[in-house]
Amino acid sequence: MKKFLSGNEAFAEGIRLARPQVISAYPITPQTIVVERLSEMVEDGSLKAEYVHVESEHSAMSCAIGASAAGARAFTATSSQGLLYMAECLYYASGGRFPIVMMNADRSTALPWNIYGDQRDSLSQLDSGWIQAYAENAQEALDLALMSYKIAENKDVSTPYMANLDGFVLTHTYETVDIPEREQADRFLPPYETDNRIDLENPKNMAFSAGPDTNYIFKFKEHEGVLAARKVINETEKEFAEIFGRKYTGLIENYLTDDADYVIVTLGSIAGLCRETADKLREQGIKAGVVRIRYMRPFPNDEIADVLRNVKAYAVLEKDISFGNEGTVFTNVNSALKKSGINAKGYNFIGGLGGRNISASDIEQIYSDIANGTEIVNFIGIGGGNNG
């Protein structure tokens, strides 16, 4: 069934199909529409879930952890300040191997206050042990909602999953979205079954302390869980394509990269404009390409190395800055290339902070700058920056 939906609404439709049993809800712009739609679905009976009006984001995640520990499929959604407020619980959920799914509407973080989109909120939590996906459009948002549980709940993975949607640009923009049939969704995603739960027949102690001798082993296992998602994401997308007919490309999505000299690596909704610009430059004989990172964790080390192996130069375009250094995505991409012994010229372009527009001419300028050489770290519309 096709419907005209915003990114938030599309995600909520995906969650309805995924049948979470407990939803903890707390409002924050620009995520609110997700929890509003879900409350309506619970009210009209099309979604059978315990809908809990928690009193903060910390409690939203704490409640989701409790529900997941009870063996229930749990969902919550947040953004920006809310994500930071629940940060303690993010590490708790991943350390406890609870496959909670959360939608995060990527939004700037105060100060100064700002409700518009950038990716500093979620990228600041890369080390929290969550799988992190970044959607480009509303259809992908819906599809991620449905795939997320299958990936997170896989026994080799058992890791919580954060699906990121660019605030406003994606959460509030309407597109035609294909909503899968209920029967197909149920065939794709069976109910959650786990041993990692409270069991009244065989009681257990959960979320315990582990001293220096064993703590490290638990952390190693947690790392293995996130890494295991690499394979499971590919398998899940294959099965998804068989049932629903839509294909996804794993941790990254490449566009015109096979013979590209100049590539922009980016993530989220800005990728569309990058592809349009690449098309335009191709008409002028410039071999431009685009890599869209779909998953920041697990990080696509090998995929990025493969696609950038023969480029003349690449730019990492991101709505993020790690103050005192550079954009975090740039750091991650450079690490991937270094590990594979690739020495292509790399540049960082930081833009879109606090929702500031990145235009087609900005992107054209990036391709031109990396072809001609520029500062290593550049702030779009401000200029080159000193990164020490």
């Binding site: 049993q21 315990e50 409690s59 704490s62 409790g66 009244l200 959960m206 302390s209």
Partner: protein, 297 residues
């Protein structure tokens, strides 16, 4: 159902092998409550004394389902556990939280208030030892006036803690909670009866039990129960219930025992001057004036 007493309580143990200090009042409260609630209880304990002494992998000390929550998240995790088990079709279980005074009255009060507001079907037991004992005796919102802690030193200028205890019992009651009660581990039959009663009531239940900490209070390990009786006899704590919109006093000492004697037994109050003790007595009398006027006997 007949009320359980110390004589009829189960011989089963659900919390043992832990490494709490000798004479720990908190572990006594947890042990007794779990005996009342039985094997189908799921307990949630935040970071704090009981989780620190009971959950050290691989030495795990609860024989019922138990889980540690974040420090602020006792009530919110209880909510999730209760909702999750219910969503999975379980009916015969009790979700109970055991949090200390800091975990309840300070960092956890927001989540607790939220759970009471939603009227989630949980029992929340605050074992009040009147300071952050697990981290080494720092002042909490439930540390009484005058108490010396490691962050409220007793010096020439300031005589320990300068603020009275928050009244968590009445804060819980102000939500119009289905059931709230105060208790003391110095009167176990009363505590057990209240836990039993709470387990029969639908909605949120809050029980605030005084549980002395010999380490933090500066009393001998074998004086825990006696000092927990004396705090009630001296009128500095009271045994009461809130139900159906009414406060009820469960026990009224015929005559208060000496406040000074109660205080001077404890290392944390040794420094108090006569005028400090007079202030404590005056505040007790004011409280009892209120109780006598507003609580049924």
């Amino acid at each position: 159902m007949a009320n359980k007493t110390a004589e009829s309580i189960s011989r089963d143990e659900f919390f043992y092998g832990h490494k709490a200090c000798a004479g720990c009042g908190g572990s006594l409260a947890v042990r007794a409550a779990l005996k009342v609630l039985g094997p189908n209880v799921v307990s949630v304990l935040p970071a704090g004394c009981m989780s620190a002494v009971g959950f050290n992998f691989p030495q795990l000390c609860f024989s019922n389902n138990s889980i540690i929550s974040t420090f602020a998240g006792t009530a919110s995790m209880l909510t999730g556990v209760e909702a999750g088990l219910r969503a999975r079709g379980y009916k015969d279980f009790t979700a109970v939280g055991f949090a200390g005074d800091g975990g309840t009255a300070d960092i956890g009060i927001q989540a607790l208030s939220g759970a009471i507001d939603r009227n989630d079907n949980i029992i929340y037991i605050c074992y009040d030892n009147e300071a952050y004992m697990n981290t080494g005796i720092q002042k909490s919102g439930l540390t009484p006036f005058g108490a010396k802690t490691t962050t409220t030193p007793a010096g020439k200028n300031i005589h320990g803690n300068i603020r009275p205890k928050k009244n968590m019992f009445e804060i819980a009651a102000a939500h119009d909670i289905p059931y709230a009660a105060t208790a003391s581990i110095g009167n176990l039959p009363d505590f057990i009866k209240k836990v039993q009663k709470a387990s029969q009531i639908q909605g949120t239940k809050y029980i605030h039990v005084i549980a002395p900490c010999p380490t933090g209070w500066g009393v001998a390990p074998d004086e825990t129960v006696a000092i927990a009786k004396e705090v009630v006899e001296s009128g500095l704590w009271y045994l009461a219930e809130y139900e159906n919109g009414n406060f009820k006093l469960n026990y009224k000492p015929k005559e208060f025992s000496s406040v000074e004697a109660y205080l001077k037994k404890q290392g944390r109050f040794k420094h108090l001057a006569d005028e400090d003790i007079k202030l404590i007595e005056a505040s007790r009398d004011k409280k009892w004036e209120y109780i006598n006027k507003n609580f049924e006997l």
